[in-house]
Structures are given as C-alpha cells and as structure tokens.
Subunit: 698 residues, 2 copies
C-alpha cells in the first residue's frame, strides 16, 4: 500500500472546501465533507476537526478489515473466522435465492444455528482491498495525443494490461481494477482479494430490517434492524482473516468522532453546469417517470398472488429505493441556488484559466466541449440505454444471451482488444453471474420483458427500424410469452455449453434469446461506439482538463468524486436542526415498539413482539452522524478511534440526497444501526448467543 | 351577443404576435396563432392571411352550431334533430356506463339502429353558447380596493350574483358563467343553453377510434376514427336546433382555410418566469411521476382479469393521454430557449413599466408578488391537492360524500356566500354527477382508494397529524376494503336522501365515507382558504396588473389565454417539415390497413376488415392543419368558409404540446378526422346509411 501522499497539501484542500461551503450556505462549522482514498487521508484536517488523527496501523487495520460486495454494497469483517457484516438489503438477492414457495426467508428471516447450516449465495462475491498503486503516468502516457475511438481503445488496453499483470496467475483469488479519480486526473490500480464462496449466516425478517418500509426510507428518526451476516469460505472452510472489527457492545456516544470505510458509488460534485442541466432533464423526463411507472406495475404485479409478491419483493425494494433517492436528487437539481452557485464557480474557474498563460492553451474550451457532448448525449441516450444497456429487454434470459453472444466473440480476442467487461480479470465475475443458481420465475420474466418491449416501442417510436423488426406483427405480450416459453437458458448447463462454444455454433442456435441477442448486437455495438466517441471520450478528456484547472486554482487535495472504491469519511455522531425542529442523534428500541401499528410496513415481526420484555428498551437502535456518504456505502462499518465497530451504515437522511452534487454539513446525515442494537438483537431477539459472542470477539 | 369590439386594434395585436415569434423562432410565415373569443375575432388579420374574413351571419352560425360538453370536451350540432358530433374519447365514460360484463361497447362499439335504441348518458351535459356580455366594469368595481379573503369573497359574490341573474328562473335550461379573460383584464358573462338529456347514438370500436393507441397518440401520420355521435333530447324528443353544421362529404383540400370552434381548456402563454419555473418543478417532481406510477398500477390492474380490464380502460386512457400530454409540456418547459425568451420579454415589459410615470405606480412589483406567491404555492400545493382536491381519497364514494357534506352546508347559505361551485347555477351540474347512474365497481374503487391512501402517506408523511388520524393502526388496503364494503353510497336513493338532509342528520350517519368527509372537511376548508389567500388572490391581482402593462405596451388585442370557453382559431390544412422530413397533411384508409398488425393497439376491428373491399381506400382519413388548439378542443368542428363541417379535431401533433406555453407556427399542428372519412365510415363500415344521410343533410 502506498501512503506517500499523506501529508501533502491537506490545508489548502480544506480551504477550498470551506470556500465552497461558505459561498453556498454561509456556514463553516463542522464541515466534514469528503470521501477520502486510503492513501490520501486529510490527517491535518482530522487533527484540527477531531483533535485526533489516525496512525498508519489504524489505517492499515481499517483498510483490511473493510470489504466490498461486488453487487454494489460495502461490508466489513467482524470476526477472525470470516464473518462479514453488511445490510439486510445487501443480501436480499441471496435471501430470495434460498427461499421458495414454502420457506420465505424475506418474511421469516434466516438463521444458521450451526456453520454447516450456512447457505451458499451463488452470485455473491466479497472483495478485500489489498493494495493501491498509482498508475497515473502509465495510463496518461498510453493515451497521449489520442482522441475518439483511438483514445478509448488505448485506455481500455492499458487498463486491461495493468489489471492482467496485477492479477497474474491468481485469477481465482485476485481482482484488479484501475480506478479513475478526479475525472482522470489520477489513475490508481486497486488490487483486491476475492472471496467467491459466500454463505448466508443470518438475515432478520424484512419487517425488522426495513421497518417503516418505503415511507420511512431516507427518513429519521428511524428504527431499522437493517443488518445481515454472511461468511466467506476458502477451500470449504471459513476464511481466516487477520484484520477485522470487533463490535463495541455499547455503541458510540453523542459527538464521538466516527469513521466510515466503504465504497460510495458515485457523486457528481465536479460536474459542469451543462452536465448538471443534462442530468436534471434526463431525470425529470426519463429516469424518474420510468421508475415511477415500473414501480406501479411491480406493486400491482405483487397483488396477483402471494407467490407473485414473494418473487418480486426484492425488485420492488430496489425500484422504490432508487425512485426515492433519485427523486431527492432531482429536487436538489431543481434548486436554483445550486445552479447559481455552480455557475458562479464555473465562471471564476474559467476566468482563472484565461488569466494564466500556458493554462489557457492547455485547458482551452473544455466547458464548451462538454456542452456539445451533452447535446449529443441527449440524442443518443435513449437508444443507447434501450439497445446497448438492455433496457428494452429486461429479462435475465436476455442478459444471459447477451453475455454469451458478446463473450464468445470477445474471449477469442487478445485481452487488450476486448470490451473492458470481458477482460480476463473480469471473467470470474461474469461467470458467477452467468452460472448463478438463483431461481428464475417465468411469470416474472414475461411480465418484465413485456413491459420493457412496450417501453422500447414508446421511447424509440413505432416506426424505428429495429422496433419494427423485433416486434413484427406481434404484440409485446405474445412475444414475451413465446420467447420465455421457448428458451432453454434457465438451464445452467445450457448456458455453460453456449458460453464455451463459438460464434458459428451460436448462430445455429434456435434459442429465441440467443437469436434476439445476435440480431440486436450489431446495432448495440454501433450505438456503444457512437456513445463512447461522441459523448464519453470528449467528456472524459475535457473533464481531465477541468480537473487540472481546478488543481491549479484550488490545490490538488480535494477529495475525488466517488467511484465505488474504498473511501474513508470522518465525522461525529450528531443530530440536526431543521425548520426550528431538533432531530436527536439516537433512537431506541422503545421507539420502535411505539411506532409499530401491526400493519405493514409498520408491523414488527413476532420475534420482536415476543422478546420485548427481555430487552433493554432504552438501548439505542439507530443513530445519525455527519459522515459524508452516498449510495454504495450501504453496509459500511462505522469505526471509533479504537478501530472497533460502533455502527453499520444503512441509509442517509432526506437531506443527504443532494449529497450527490454537494455536501450540506448542517443537514446531511448518515444513518446507522447502532452496534449495541446488533449485539442485543442477535442475543435477545434472535437467540443467537454464539454469534453475538463471535461479534464482540468473545 | 356583443360584437362591438371587432374592428379594434387588430393590426397592433398582430404585430405583437409577430414580434413574439420572430424573437423566438426567427420566422413569421403563416403565424396563425390565437384562440379568439367570438365577440372579438381578428377580422383584418384573417383577411390578410386567408384573403377572407367571416360575415356576422357566418359567425353567428358558427357560435350557435358549436357545443361544449361539460366533461371538458367540445362538440357541434350536425343535424336539425339535435345530433351532436364529438370524439369517441369524449363519450368513453358513457360507453362504459352502458356496457356490462356481457356487452362491452368499448370493444365492440355501439350503434342505435333506431332513435328508440339511443342510450342515455346519465352524467353528460351539452351546452350551447347563446350570449356573451361584457361585465368587466361590474366585476372590477365589486372588488376594488380589496385583497386576500375579502377580495376573493367579493369576487365570488359578484360572479354568483351575475350568474344567478343571468339564469333567472331557467335553472333547468340555462347555465351562466363569468369567464375571466386576460388574467382578469376582462370579465365576460357567457350564457349557455343546457341539454341534460343526452343519448348515445354511435360509438365505433375503441380499436378503430384509438387505432395505434398510446404509441400513436399525439403522433402523425395517423389513422384514427375518433368520432362518436350523441343526440340531445328535450321533453323526451330529439331537440330541434336551428344552427348546425352539415358534413361536407368530400372533406377539405390542402391549403384550404379552415376554422375550429371549440373550448380550449387552458394555455399558459402569459405566465411569468417564476410561474413557469414553478410549473416545471411541479410537473417534474410531482405530476409526471404521479401519473407514471398510476399508469403502471392501472396497466397491471387490467391484467387481473378481462373484467378488470374493461372497468379500468377509460381511466387508463385518461391517464396515458394526460401523461403523454404533460410529459410533452415538461419537455417544452425544460427547453432553455423558452426560458431565455420569456426572461427577455419580461425584462422588456418591466423596463417599459418603469419608464412610464403612472404605470410604474399602478403596476409596481407585480412580478415580485407572483414570485412570492409561488414560494407559498410550493409549500401548500401538495397538502392542498391531497386534502382539498381529493387526491388522497380517489374513489367516487368519497367524491359523493364530499359533495354531500359540503353541499348541505353551502346550500343553506345565501347564494353569494357559498363556495362558487355550489352557486344555484352550478347545482344542476353537481346533481347530475351526484345522481349519475354510471355503474360502480367495488374492486376498482378499493384499488384506487388503497393507492391514493398510500400516496397520501408518502406525500404528506407518516407523521402528518391527519394522516395518522385517518390511517390509525390499519393498512391503507384494509381501510379501503372496509370502507368500500361498508358504504351505502352506491345506492342513488341513499345519495339523494343525504343530499336533501342537513348537517345535524349527516353527523349521525355511520356511512364510512360521510364520516371521513366530515372528518377531513375542516382541514380541507382551511387549506383552501390559505391557498386562495396566499397563492390565488395575490397571483390573480398581480396578473391583472401585468395584463394591464401588456395592454399598455402591445395593445389590447392579443388573444387571451384559453379558459375552457368558446374560441375560434383559423388556419389552413397543411403538413410540416421536421429534420428535413416532410410530413404530408393527409392520411388515407389505405394507410390504416397497411399499418395494422393484428395485435393491439394496431389491430383493426372486424368491421373494418370486412368492409375493406367496399371502401374507397384513397379517401382521406385524418388530416393536419395549422389551427391553434389545445386540450379541451377535442371534438371541435373544423369548418370551411361555407360553414360546413370538413373535419373533427381529435388531437394535436407532438409539437403542439409546447402550445401550452407558446405557438410554433412551423411545427404545431392540429389533427382531425376528415369529414369524408366520417361519411364513408358510417355508410360503408358501420352500415348506418340513415345516419350518414342525416350527417350530410340529406
């Protein structure tokens, strides 16, 4: 691990952050913004804000005790025997996988009383970050002077090469990724240890994990037991881990400094005004209405029968959660003060650039380039999403077919020439998804496919050539039924057979989804190339330039936008005040019982009702803190200064949704399950004393 | 009818219009913008643009031959025996009303072979405009110097008084409305003859009327037979009408001048920038996602069973149509050039005001007043919509209960003191709705109510006092089932009994919806008062001032924003060119057969398939014209210079959706069923020779 940049320029960075907040909010107190890479922590600022900064051993412990789940969540090791703590909603897919018509573990929860009863999650992968290497010079050199396709291909090639070298012959156990930071101002090679044998140990009832449901989502006060435990295995034995976070059975106290280590997915704090506008318009006209309609369809699909509800619950959760989060982001993007502030900031930066000889020539009209690319994006976005991003064919069968059709072609090429997702280092992940044992429900696949075909016709138009070709003289519903009825891809052996075949063999397949994927592929590839050339490449190059300008003006140490790679955020346990109303930092078990109505989503499960008398009702259940987090941080450990786990991030408050675009230190709060609640709950509600002991390191 | 303003200032008005287009689009050709009141037609401009202007007799004929349907559509008399032509989608509610599980007239269509077979539409009312009287001075005088509640009450009182005097003792046959024009710059009293005995004569299959369905809605080329025929009766006999529009069996020719007479619902062409922004944000975050979600729910509700589909089809049509229309408007509102243009225009007007002594004092900071009121609106809008506008309780039972609860209180007051919708002149319309014989389907009512209760909790918050009180410890679904199961309001006699009771009796009712309406009413009234005082009144007063400023700058003869009152728009039959692609003005029957796939919504009904050989396939089916129309114009007659009906408005093209905010003469087109198609269709497809003869006046 490279830590040589630690002490550099921290002070200047923080001034920049302050400048930004002062302008936007007129306050500076407790501005704990920033999602910091582990090799570049703002130690001076931490010392100043918290009167404490971590030592190298603490940092090492934090980095190796934390984990990432490849499906987009964070997690951490909590025992020497490979026990991993994350959110319930991060393992929902696995809980559904091990459920069936008779045993619904989403409703009833799951507890493996013995290790032998722990149940395999077939598509789950846990990653532990091992090493960070700066590869900026290598990557930038490889693409120097190139643009368009050539730029993209060269960048793919160098990234593939670096990842491949990094993985070496450890394909099964290592995963390497080149992480783009500062919009391309920095490239880092992250090497992970990969665990692919993941087993479910414990998941509470969804009624407890997601108490309050969609209405309480992103709200606080909150009373959720949104936790789960999985265990990673190696050679069929619980993996032995050196670094892990024992739970502190008392939880944190108010104002205590706390640290989250996780994998925030994406922030857009460096976007230009043109990009924010384009994002806003896309959210308003496309993303939000699309999610809202699908939400309605799914809700009513679940009313078909209890079984329909069971098989669609995880999807509905995902959709409602996305809807609420993105709706909050849209509201932020419609806030005129944000645009005014961003416009003023952009103007200042442009003036700075134009005032500096050399810089002016280097940066040039980067903002204009992005504006032009966004106009292209507006034209290309919908066909690109529908055809290349599979939105038109929302069924797992099509995903399989497309992976196969693309895979057999790409695998036959040199690693450096492949589409990046088919690089050697990515293949284990693709194969895990392709050969997943998760059950498939034809009724649900028909439902999703029918809707997405109708939506394709709506979005691309009745007279679009591909739409006409695909739909022909049939209705989307008939086609969906016919294709789902005719495919063999539900059979894993079938998928394996095609995956290991070649394009000539594939072309002879009569499987409707393989035929469909073959038919769509040329246009999908063409759209991807156009999107990469006309949108992504110009934006990437221009963003790199703007990042340089920003470094020149403000200094090089603002924290980079989130990229689903490991970040630390520091803060304190704290409530907030809004509209003269004070929101306290902690909730307790008592509050949960008071809020319960008996009707979903405010129904507490029987285990909770039965255990009420055994509980210390004043024990904290959830708490809020000032840490700067975002989607992807779900499941992140919250550590104290001793490196113990005191909380488990599972949400942000409603004000945190604007966090995609800026951090509001007054109102933006992370929301966690208190470690004290986890220990009490496992022991007293779920009768899992042994696990509770394992968690506190007894 | 007052026509004394006809010749005034037309030239100045048109210059203003031209100024506006030139600035926005850089073109001026064929700018046929304007929805003109019948007492104020732009005769000089028509003479110049069409080389023709109507005589007083033509205008009189047009005004009295046209009709309005109280549900929000337009129509016209097409025979001396009270036959009325409108769109299929304007009578969908009636078609559902006369359908049942065995006879589905939405699918199979309806044709009364004899007059005795014509079927009553219980909730339908047709209005014919008789007289227009300018009452501006009277209304403005009554509110002079008042503001807030006093202003609102005084305005209600004078409007009620004027309407009451106008109706006199003709309550059953007359309807009077004070129409607000130019945002309060002008008030006119419209007196209508009301027909409440309305019977269905003909409706084609929905597959023909709405061929292409949602995908083709607002699109062109188009192939829809979106027509229906109803007949108005008086004293159980077909009403005798003097003015009506015989159909021209050949239809119009390209470039021919054509005139629409109808009731455009609402345009927002005079809104300030602050209002447009507020509208945009409300569409993006609230209206569009709400419609999208409900659309998804309804679609999947229809998949429960064929009967579910039947009883929800009209609602789904309404929702999909609204979604597409408002989505188009949102896209227009996100167009930066619109905001730039509006901002520039506003700035110019403000500068003009500030440069004129006297005007400056009179108009003052009207824009600022509106901006402040919009901030209030943003806070109040959702509770106001949910609680006062019944969005939280979307079931016909609650609408009944609320009409009853409000009605018994309001009816006991003097006319001038009532909420305006309970003025004496409005009671026949309310009673028609309250005593409607339209069937009610408990399953559908539960479905709608459940969703709206969930949405109320989402929008107002779990902890909102009224939400807590209403939901208590139960789930929305349980409550909906319980209330719908327990109500007696499905029985018309029951509704009559309560309507004629008093508040003390009502308070003893155990009907769950009457109890609910009583519980909600105080808060609903309070919200309404706040919304009127803090939003509507200040905006109305400030808008009046801005209208005055506009008059002072541009002259008094721009056409007023649409207000669901009679307007004429002139134009020509014409296609358009977009992205270098020419869209011809006409489609023909041949095209419909070519587009048909056999699968909904591109399935032609059997009647059409069977009649194919009997048809002149080259005969025009639909056409586009440059008339300036908007929602509410559905069913409008399209007349030629002879006063014959040559078309039936049923839609606008996709570019017409921005027409809410400005008129784009290059692209905005109205879309009609050709009169030739109506005559051929009735005769050859539906075998209704007698009706075809009645239509052409044989």
């Amino acid at each position: 691990m490279s830590m040589n940049h630690f002490q550099k320029n921290v002070y200047r960075m923080h001034l920049y952050a302050l400048y930004f907040y002062l302008a936007l909010f007129g306050v500076a107190a407790d501005a704990e913004e920033g999602m910091w890479t582990m090799d570049h922590l703002p130690l001076q600022a931490m010392q100043r804000d918290l009167n404490w900064a971590p030592q190298a051993t603490w940092i090492d412990h934090a980095m190796h005790g934390a984990a990432r789940i490849a499906n987009g969540c964070s997690a951490s090791f909590v025992s020497k025997d490979g026990l991993v703590l994350t959110n319930h909603h991060c393992v929902a897919e696995c809980v559904e996988e091990i459920s069936n018509e008779k045993e619904n573990h989403m409703i009833d929860g799951f507890l493996a009383k013995e290790r032998t009863a722990e149940k395999k999650c077939s598509a789950m992968e846990v990653n532990r970050l091992e090493k960070i290497t700066d590869v900026t010079v290598t990557v930038q050199k490889a693409t120097q002077g190139l643009s368009g396709t050539a730029f993209k291909l060269a960048q793919n090639a160098i990234k593939a090469k670096l990842s491949e070298q990094c993985v070496g012959d450890q394909k099964a156990k290592a995963r390497c990724e080149v992480v783009t930071l500062y919009q391309g101002g920095q490239y880092q090679l992250y090497r992970y240890h990969r665990f692919q044998d993941v087993r479910l140990v414990f998941a509470p009832e969804q009624a407890a994990a997601f108490f309050g449901g969609d209405p309480d989502n992103f709200m606080f006060p909150r009373y959720d037991f949104d936790m789960s435990l999985i265990r990673v295995y190696e050679d069929d034995q619980p993996a032995r881990v050196k670094e892990y976070f024992p739970l502190n059975a008392k939880g944190p106290s108010e104002n205590e400094p706390v640290f989250t280590i996780g994998n925030p997915g994406a922030t857009q704090r460096q976007l230009t005004v043109a990009q924010l506008q384009s994002l806003r318009d896309n959210f308003a006209t496309n993303v939000i209405p699309g999610l809202a309609q699908y939400r309605g369809l799914l809700t009513e699909f679940g009313n078909r029968s209890p079984e329909s509800k069971r098989i669609s619950t995880a999807e509905l959760f995902y959709v409602e959660n996305s809807y609420k989060a993105l709706h909050g982001e849209l509201e932020a993007l419609l806030e005129p003060s944000v645009f005014n502030q961003k416009t003023a900031e952009e103007k200042e930066l442009k003036e700075f650039v134009n005032s500096k000889v050399g810089l002016k020539e280097e940066i040039g009209d980067a903002w204009q380039t992005i504006e032009q690319a966004e106009i292209q994006a507006n034209t290309l976005r919908i066909p690109f999403q529908e055809i290349e991003k599979n939105q038109a064919f929302r069924t797992v069968y099509y995903s399989f077919a497309k992976m196969i059709v693309r895979g057999v072609v790409e695998k036959s090429k040199n690693n450096a020439d492949r589409l990046p997702e088919f690089n050697e280092s990515e293949l284990p992940q693709i194969e895990a998804a392709l050969f997943s044992e998760a059950p498939i429900y034809p009724e649900f696949e028909i439902f999703k496919l029918n809707h997405s075909l109708i939506k394709m016709r709506e979005l691309l138009g009745v007279d679009h050539a591909l739409v006409k070709k695909i739909l022909g003289k049939q209705s989307p519903d008939d086609l969906a039924k016919q294709w789902v009825g005719g495919t063999q891809l539900a059979d894993i052996q079938e998928r394996k057979k095609w995956w290991n075949s070649d394009i000539q063999t594939l072309k002879k397949s009569t499987d409707p989804f393989i035929q469909l994927a073959l038919e769509v592929d040329p246009q999908a590839r063409e759209l991807r190339t156009r999107y990469e050339n006309d949108v992504e490449s110009p934006i990437n190059k221009a963003s790199e330039k703007i990042a340089k300008a920003r470094f020149a003006m403000y200094g090089a140490d603002a924290s980079p936008d989130a990229t689903f790679s490991m970040r630390l955020s520091y803060g304190r346990v704290k409530g907030w005040t809004h509209n003269n109303e004070e929101v306290p930092a902690f909730t307790d078990f008592k509050g949960a019982y008071e809020r319960a109505t008996g009707a979903d989503p405010f129904r507490l499960p029987d285990t909770w009702l039965k255990a009420k008398n055994q509980l210390d009702l004043k024990m904290p259940l959830n708490f809020s803190s000032t840490n700067d987090i975002i989607g992807g941080n779900s499941g992140s450990p919250v550590l104290n200064q001793k490196g113990e786990l005191v909380g488990l991030i599972f949400d942000g408050n409603i004000h945190s949704l604007g966090g995609a675009f800026w951090f509001d230190p007054k109102l933006n709060r992370a929301v966690s399950v208190d470690s004290a609640a986890i220990v009490q709950g496992m022991d007293k509600i779920y009768g899992a004393r042994k696990i509770a002991d394992e968690l506190v390191g007894r």
